[in-house]
Symmetry: C2
Subunit: 585 residues, 2 copies
């Protein structure tokens, strides 16, 4: 179902029902760009730490706009309901924030080549507000109402000295007399044009002041805007009862306008409240953008981001991570969404039996509509069902709650663990090399030619990580470099130590490394909960501490095994809270 500003309100109930009945949801977002800083290969260095990756994505990706959001609801093995939402931050009114967002030519050009409909985004996109903006707007509206109750019109135009008659300078007397007194005598209802440019700001002030003084109780003043965006001051003579009725009407209209302004964020609230499993493909950016646009500005710290994530998406599963993990790792050669979708249709997988619910657009996977968010969410759902069926537990409502997000292009940390500390590989085969900015990859290959195959991860013009194939050669490489002048080599441990020394000034302690290459978690993290609207940056509740998770079992090569994952059942704390929701739970 395609949802735009035009049919959003009438579609909301269908969305809510689909969320309620879903066994799981799949989501996908389309963005106006990926990186406003380094190119994508520099943005995603193969040896980033999770903190570095998060902070790079936060810095370089969040000024783009998530402008299409796909949701698939799948229920009853499986009736599917795909939704494709167009989203745009249409300013609520003249004083509301006028959001600026970046577009990246290559991304826009790519979407254009896929038949993306930009007019639907910009002309019919559903507006939205994050929680803070919503609260602010509601407070402003309340404040206006209170002030309104004590006087006439927009209080910002009433000067503190306006208790007496307004001082009307000689040159404006004619204008004010004409506008107010002539009209007031001859018409019951009249409009005063709201002149735009600054010389008439003063005249507007005079009009308000004079009205306030002449008719302290007998009129209702309201700014109205025509379809052509022309603004007028509407002045109506009213008695007290009529005045109250009009103010009540105005208030109800404002409340509805406010709900409309919250717009698409209501759908995200509903997903969050539903507590349903949310599946996505390579979904870290989708999660970050969703939180950033519809919930709250992203926190500085990765740990805080994880906690916010558990508020907004209490149960998450990344199909790209799933497909890159045993047993699928050995069955699937290419984990891109389009390729995955093809592969999970064939042996040893089975094409899942799915049916599109009546009234919903039935996607044909033979005619790919890739990079429409609704379609991508749809096939992400299909991929999940196929893989889950292969494991034999897709129809079991017990969730394979991995709560981990795929980390694209990090060599040895395959995922971000949302509910606890991340993997910390030793990287003792990695060297940090600095060199003149003329150097190319080929120079590094030449420099390390004695050490066999190497892997180069560029950091900037003059530095890179070089991974050797054998750890025991690190010392030899260090020794041979001792007298070199044009370049410098450090071990990864030395490099990290240097970085931490800089950070210590900010109060952070250096991290310890476990014997087995993975860092041992210091604490058992509690999984999420907290209903939407109350991000918990504080300590976890005790009664939820039973839901422990440890980093997933790893084989020697730093990969994770899907089947060894501890199954965590029952989000009981969450379920207890469901009845508190504002709808249907």
């Amino acid at each position: 179902m395609e949802v735009t500003r035009r049919n959003f309100k009438e579609s909301l109930n269908a969305v809510y029902s689909a969320l309620e009945e879903a066994d799981f949801l799949a989501i996908d977002g389309e963005f106006s760009g990926i990186s406003d800083g380094p190119n994508v290969s520099a943005l995603t260095n193969g040896l980033d730490t999770p903190e570095e990756r998060y902070s790079k994505l936060k810095k370089h990706s969040m000024d783009f706009l998530l402008f299409q959001f796909g949701i698939l609801s799948a229920s009853q093995m499986y009736i599917t309901k795909p939704f494709n939402f167009y989203v745009f931050p249409k300013p609520f009114n003249r004083t509301s924030p006028d959001l600026k967002f970046i577009c990246q030519s290559s991304s826009i050009d790519f979407l254009a080549s896929q038949g993306f409909d930009f007019n639907k985004v910009f002309c019919q996109g559903i507006p939205y507000l994050n929680q803070e903006e919503e609260v602010q707007l509601r407070e402003q509206s309340e404040e206006r109402r209170h002030q309104h109750a004590n006087g006439v019109g927009t209080p910002s135009f009433i000067s503190p000295s306006s208790k007496g008659p307004a001082h009307v300078p000689e040159e404006h007397k004619d204008f004010i007399n004409r506008v107010i007194f002539v009209h007031m005598r001859s018409f019951y209802l009249f409009l005063i044009a709201f002149f735009c440019s600054f010389p008439t700001r003063f005249q507007r002030k005079l009009i308000y002041q004079t009205l306030n003084w002449k008719f302290p109780k007998g009129i209702h003043v309201e700014t109205v805007e025509t379809e052509k965006k022309e603004r007028y001051i509407q002045v109506i003579k009213v008695d007290d009862e009529e005045r109250k009725r009009r103010e009540q009407q105005k208030r109800e209209r404002e409340q509805e306008e406010l709900n409309d302004a919250v717009g698409f964020s209501r759908v995200i609230h509903a997903i969050s409240k539903s507590g349903k499993l949310v599946v996505g493909h390579n979904m870290l950016l989708d999660v970050m953008h969703t939180i950033h646009q519809f919930y709250c500005p992203l926190p500085e710290d990765l740990q805080d981001f994880k906690e916010v994530t558990m508020c907004v998406f209490p149960r998450l599963l990344d199909t790209k991570l799933m497909a890159s993990t045993l047993p699928f790792k050995e069955l699937i050669t290419n984990t891109s969404l389009a390729e995955l979708e093809k592969q999970v249709k064939e042996s040893p997988f089975k094409s899942p039996q799915v049916e599109t619910a009546e009234g919903f657009h039935s996607y044909d996977t033979a005619q790919q509509q890739l990079h429409e968010a609704g379609y991508d969410a749809y096939i992400t759902g299909l991929c999940f069902v196929s893989m889950a069926n292969y494991l034999g537990n897709a129809h079991d409502r017990a969730d394979p709650t991995f709560k981990t997000l795929f980390l694209m292009r990090i060599i040895d940390i395959p995922y971000l663990n949302v509910t606890g500390p991340d993997l910390q590989p030793k990287r003792d085969h990695v060297l940090f090399v600095t060199f003149p900015k003329e150097w190319k990859t080929s120079d590094l290959y030449q420099l390390f030619s004695a050490f066999g195959n190497i892997q180069v991860s560029w950091l900037d013009d003059t530095s890179a990580f070089v991974s050797l194939s054998q750890t025991d050669q690190v010392q030899i490489a260090m020794n041979t470099s001792r007298y070199a002048e044009s370049y410098r080599i450090q071990t990864y441990a030395e490099y990290v130590k240097g970085k931490h020394q800089n950070k210590e000034k900010l109060g952070q302690t250096p991290k310890s490394w476990g014997e087995d290459g993975w860092r041992k978690p210091h604490y058992a993290s509690a999984t999420s909960a907290a209903t939407f609207g109350y991000p918990r940056y504080t300590l976890p509740d005790d009664d939820e501490a039973e839901e422990k998770e440890s980093p997933e079992g790893n084989d020697a090569e730093g990969t994770v095994t899907w089947q060894q994952a501890p199954a965590v059942h029952g989000r009981k704390g969450q379920k207890k809270k469901k009845s508190k929701g504002v709808f249907f739970f």
Copy 2:
């Protein structure tokens, strides 16, 4: 005529003819936003100096995209040819700059409400390059060709040590053997898939090295891209002659692709070379964006900007400035384009007799299509003709070469003088006031209530210019403020002096003020010339110094009088140069 990427090449000749035959041109641009910093009223302070205004617009407006460009060509009193171009910086190839641009929600929403077609911009927009990018790309292409002549394939993959056989690590031998030797034996032409992610970058290098070593002369290697953006290495066995023929073909293809990439900038070049009068309405931003996108990055300094402007648009006229100037100032109450268009149809003006040339879209001014660049350029042209007819000289080809651009919302400097120093009013009735950030306009009104009507121009949260209606009250205001603690008042002269003292460190000298309120020009500036492609940041040519212009005559109130403008005839230097153009002159 609507021009997009699809019909650009076939339309170019029609564009060139229209420019050649034109008596004058009118232009207009539509942008993805206006200000990425302060809101527009703070961006355009009423007491900005021209330098400040230029530098604010440069800083806060140039990251938006000019994505629709309208040109009207009017000839023979008047046959009109309106063009509406859609423009988009589609990346030329994977290595070319991936431009990011900002969109402002309110601007996008406004254009959407006017029926703007964003799909035409993003899916079919004509690409462009500025001069620097064009030169760079042509040099890169030359360099590739030279390197190509000496070896095979993409040189960046050839390691400096590849004179001998490539060192193929054990684990890749199988792959390389399969790809190269098996295929080479069995097929004449084969494709090698261009794997995307980094592990195969090394394999690509091995393929190139091995090919280079095995077949130093007998093959032609080329990277080809399918419509689906999949890339392959195409390897063909060829003899020397066939190889040369293919390389020649490839080079011609590249040249054509380069011309396509220069795209819309060719139209701007042609306008510049034509030397025709270019008319626009409130066109400072249009001029700045045009130079910035299609010619060169905007210079830091206003004086340099003026010189570049004279290169790109040797003859400019701003209809908003014209309408704000005597005699029109007294006839026209609202100088917005839409209102102006209505007013110049009525007495004492006459609706101009215009006719749309065959094959061009005939705009109906009764059904306004405002904010389509082509339409706005069209009615700007109509307004110019009406006003020029009123003066009785529109059919005289001698140009009313004002070479001044309207400065929106500056109280006492109505225009930017492109060919010389700008007006410098004394502003001795202006006070610079600093105060606590809680203060509102009403507090300033109250503070100065003894001095009659004032005009407030906000600078930031804690400072503003306050203009008194009478200069002789300045000293009284200064005296009464002497012991104030919460606020501070300086005269405008003191304020400027303070600013200049800061600037002197950078080597700038304070400016002197003339007796009559306007600063006397120090030098007679030469008007432009210089053909497109050679911006002249140096001294003006002597043989053009005859074309002197002084600031236009001013009446006592700081307005300029249209009819008193010295008519500057004959751009002879320019005309002599015309035969040097690459087309039709």
